[in-house]
Each structure stands twice: as structure tokens, then as C-alpha cells.
């Protein structure tokens, strides 16, 4: 039942994304708050609903954005898959996993977006995309991931309480 918190959390994140973060670009890149929440959520070992959160976030974003509807759904599901993969591989270095996943998840999301736009008939210049959207986006996402992770970790502990065996 506590998992229903995904609706207000992701809804609020999307509102902040469209109303605030999208108006504060660095060059043409912006931070992706929904992606950061999904990364931070999927990296919590006790969380069992990361895939559902990704699907919900994708559907919500597809409703608001002008992107082809499958792009945010596929992109966010891949991001969660990446985070889960990293969680299994480098579980003893959470900070390394956090920054690595944020870096690669941003790249992955932009790759999916680029491919989706290409398939719908819009070919964007790759170098320009990398220099004015992707690199500033990665920088901003790495900047915001720590505070987002701190909040989402507390949320995960509330939704999935962990027993203390010490």
C-alpha cells in the first residue's frame, strides 16, 4: 500500500521538472529529476517496485512530453535495468554505483531519445546534441543526484523498513 506513494512523488517530480528545471538550462541541457528519482530508488537494495515506478514515470512523462510516447517508457525501464545491474555488480561501493549509474543512465536516456526522434523522422546533429544537451545534462544530473538520493533513501526506508541486526 505504501508503494502508492509513487504517484504523488513522481507527479510532483514531473511538475518540478516542467515548471522549474526545464526553465533552468545549462546551454540546452537540463537536469532530469524523474530519472534521478528512478536511479536513487532502484539503487536501494530492499526496494522491490523499481520496475513499476519506471513504467509509471514513463507513462506520466509520455503524457506531458512531445516525445514519441514509447521513448520515456522504454528509456526509464532501461535506466532501472541499468541501476539494478550496477547494484548487483558493485554493491559494496554505493557512492561509486550512484555516480556511475547517473552518468550512464543519462547517456542511455539521451540515446533512446535520439533514436526515437530519428525513427520519427528527425535527425539531430550528433556532435551538437553531445555538446549542448548531453554533457550539460550529465553535469547537472551528477550535481543533483546526492540530495535526491538522500531523500529517496529515507523514502525507501519508510516504504520498505529494514531490520537492524546489529
Amino acid at each position: 500500500m505504501k508503494n502508492l506513494v509513487a504517484f504523488p512523488v513522481l507527479g510532483f517530480a514531473l511538475v518540478v521538472q516542467t515548471a522549474v528545471l526545464s526553465r533552468m538550462p545549462l546551454l540546452s541541457g537540463t537536469a532530469d529529476l524523474v530519472l534521478l528519482i528512478l536511479v536513487a530508488w532502484a539503487l536501494q537494495a530492499q526496494v522491490q517496485s523499481a520496475w513499476q515506478w519506471a513504467a509509471l514515470a514513463g507513462l506520466m512523462t509520455a503524457f506531458v512530453s512531445g516525445l514519441p510516447p514509447y521513448v520515456p517508457v522504454v528509456g526509464y525501464l532501461l535506466v532501472v535495468g541499468l541501476a539494478r545491474f550496477f547494484l548487483r555488480q558493485i554493491w559494496q561501493a554505493p557512492l561509486l554505483a550512484l555516480f556511475s549509474v547517473t552518468f550512464f543512465a543519462t547517456l542511455l536516456m539521451h540515446l533512446v531519445t535520439f533514436s526515437g526522434l530519428f525513427l520519427s523522422g528527425t535527425l539531430l546533429p550528433v556532435e551538437e546534441v553531445l555538446s549542448v544537451i548531453t554533457l550539460p545534462g550529465i553535469f547537472l544530473n551528477l550535481l543533483f543526484i546526492l540530495p535526491v538520493h538522500a531523500i529517496i533513501r529515507d523514502l525507501a526506508l519508510w516504504v520498505y523498513p529494514v531490520e537492524d541486526f546489529e
Partner: protein, 277 residues
């Protein structure tokens, strides 16, 4: 009797002595004595007075500081409240100016029907240049309606729900607007880019372009009404090896700072897709 006489005599002598001293003092004969006494008294008075004032300050000063601090806090709160009020009033004044400009524009162009809308967001993807406005199908907005400000063309409505709509800006990489150069009377296609730049494509090599030429909508294709101002040519790229020349356009509207827009609600875009081969 004898004692009584003696007391009277003593009193009389005492009075006479005091009167004599007073008389001498008033006449100035005892000046050196009175000066010394006066100096001593003044010094003593000064010492006592200064100590008293110091003690009084010590006892009363903390109460004054507390009162001053309280007053200072009150004044600071008042300043903060007034500053917030100034910010609010400035924002309202700015909004009123924008609204007045839009009203003037709609009065100057009575051939169209307009609906004003507030910009409430932007597309979450940095790859696209879309706005979200607070008016939707409940207010009569439909897909394809052009969006303008008093300065010129902004874009067109791409999607609508009951209470909001998504507007594709002319700077969006997937946007293409049929445009016309006012002075050269040549037509071209205006395309956007991820950087927000506008480029005029498909311009014949023999078209005589100049920096500062005004670019308008041509109305071809039925997506936009004709003669809406788009912007001005800021640079031209002409190469002999190319079929067409290119011109870069500065939009008339600052699309990064949009707050209020007008939707032309009586314009019905023409769908020419079935006519295309």
C-alpha cells in the same frame, strides 16, 4: 539666671562671628578660602555624579539594548514584508504590462479572435522546444491553432487536454514554417534547431537577401495564417556550390522568457496530407 545670661551671650557672640565671616566673604576678603572650598566641593560633586551616572547606565543599559533589539527585529520584519510586497507589485506590474501589450495587439488586429494563456511549463525533454499553457479544449483551443504574442509568432498548438495545451515553438527541431521574406518577396522554409536557432532553408540562390530583412509567415500549406511576423535575418550563408542559400533568423519573440501568449482561436489549419503524393 547667671547661666541663662551666659547662654544668651554665647549665642550672640556666635551669631556675630558668623555674620562677620559672611560679611568678609561677601566683601571678597575670604576669596582664597572660598575658592579652595568651592574647588573641593565641585571635585567631590563631579566624582559622585560621575559614579552615579556610571552605576545608573550599568543598571539601565541592558533594558535599553533589549528594547532596541526588539525594535530592530520589528523594523527588520517590516522591511522584509515591504520588500516582499514590492516584489509582488513589480510582478503584477510586469504582468499587467504584458497583458496590456497583448490587448493592444488584439485590438490592432481585429481580424482574428484571440485567447490569452499563461505559460506554466516547458517540455521535460531538453531535445524538444515545447511550452505548456493553462488553457485547453474547455476554452475552445484546438490542435494546430497558431500561438503569438504582440511581437510575433511563437508556434502552434500540438496537443490539447481539457484545461491545458502543449505548444510547439518555431525553434523546435521538428518544426517547419513556410515563410516569406517581406522585402525580397521570396518564400522559404523556416526550421528550428536544438540550440534554438532559426534557419531559412530552400532559398533560391538568386534571391537578394540583406541583413535585417523581415521574415513573415507565407500562409502556404495552411498551417499558419499569412503575414505573422517571425523575425529578422541576422546572417546569410551563400555558397556557389549549393543549390540554395541559407539565412539565419533572429526571432521577434524572446522564446526563452515567455509568460503570456495569445492563441488565434478562429484559425483552422488545413490538413493537406491527403493531397500529398
Amino acid at each position: 539666671m547667671k547661666n541663662s545670661l551666659s547662654d544668651t551671650l554665647q549665642t550672640t557672640v556666635l551669631f556675630l562671628v558668623v555674620a562677620g565671616i559672611l560679611a568678609l566673604a561677601l566683601s571678597g576678603s575670604l576669596g582664597f578660602i572660598s575658592n579652595g572650598v568651592n574647588a573641593f566641593l565641585v571635585s567631590a560633586q563631579t566624582w559622585v555624579s560621575s559614579r552615579f551616572v556610571a552605576i545608573q547606565d550599568f543598571l539601565t543599559a541592558p533594558r535599553d539594548v533589549a528594547a532596541l533589539r526588539q525594535r530592530n527585529a520589528e523594523l527588520e520584519a517590516e522591511v522584509a514584508r515591504l520588500q516582499a510586497q514590492i516584489v509582488q507589485l513589480r510582478s503584477q506590474a510586469s504582468e499587467m504590462q504584458a497583458l496590456a501589450a497583448l490587448v493592444n495587439f488584439s485590438r490592432a488586429n481585429p481580424e482574428n479572435v484571440y485567447t490569452a494563456a499563461t505559460v506554466i511549463g516547458r517540455d521535460p525533454s531538453p531535445f524538444l522546444h515545447y511550452l505548456i499553457i493553462d488553457k485547453g479544449s474547455n476554452d475552445g483551443l484546438r490542435r494546430g491553432m497558431p500561438v503569438v504574442t504582440e511581437q510575433g509568432l511563437v508556434g502552434r498548438i500540438d496537443a490539447v487536454i481539457g484545461s491545458a495545451a502543449r505548444v510547439q515553438l518555431i525553434t523546435d527541431p521538428t518544426s517547419a514554417v513556410n515563410a516569406r521574406l517581406e522585402r525580397a518577396d521570396r518564400e522559404a522554409v523556416l526550421t528550428g534547431a536544438i540550440t534554438g536557432d532559426l534557419t531559412l532553408e530552400m532559398l533560391p540562390q538568386d534571391a537578394a537577401l540583406e541583413i535585417g530583412d523581415v521574415v513573415l509567415t507565407s500562409g502556404l500549406g495552411g498551417s499558419y495564417p499569412p503575414d505573422l511576423i517571425i523575425g529578422q535575418v541576422v546572417s546569410i550563408r551563400r555558397r556557389d556550390s549549393d543549390l540554395f542559400q541559407q539565412a539565419f533568423v533572429q526571432p521577434a519573440v524572446d522564446l526563452t522568457q515567455l509568460k503570456l501568449v495569445l492563441v488565434i482561436t478562429d484559425f483552422r489549419p488545413v490538413n493537406i496530407a491527403p493531397l500529398l503524393p
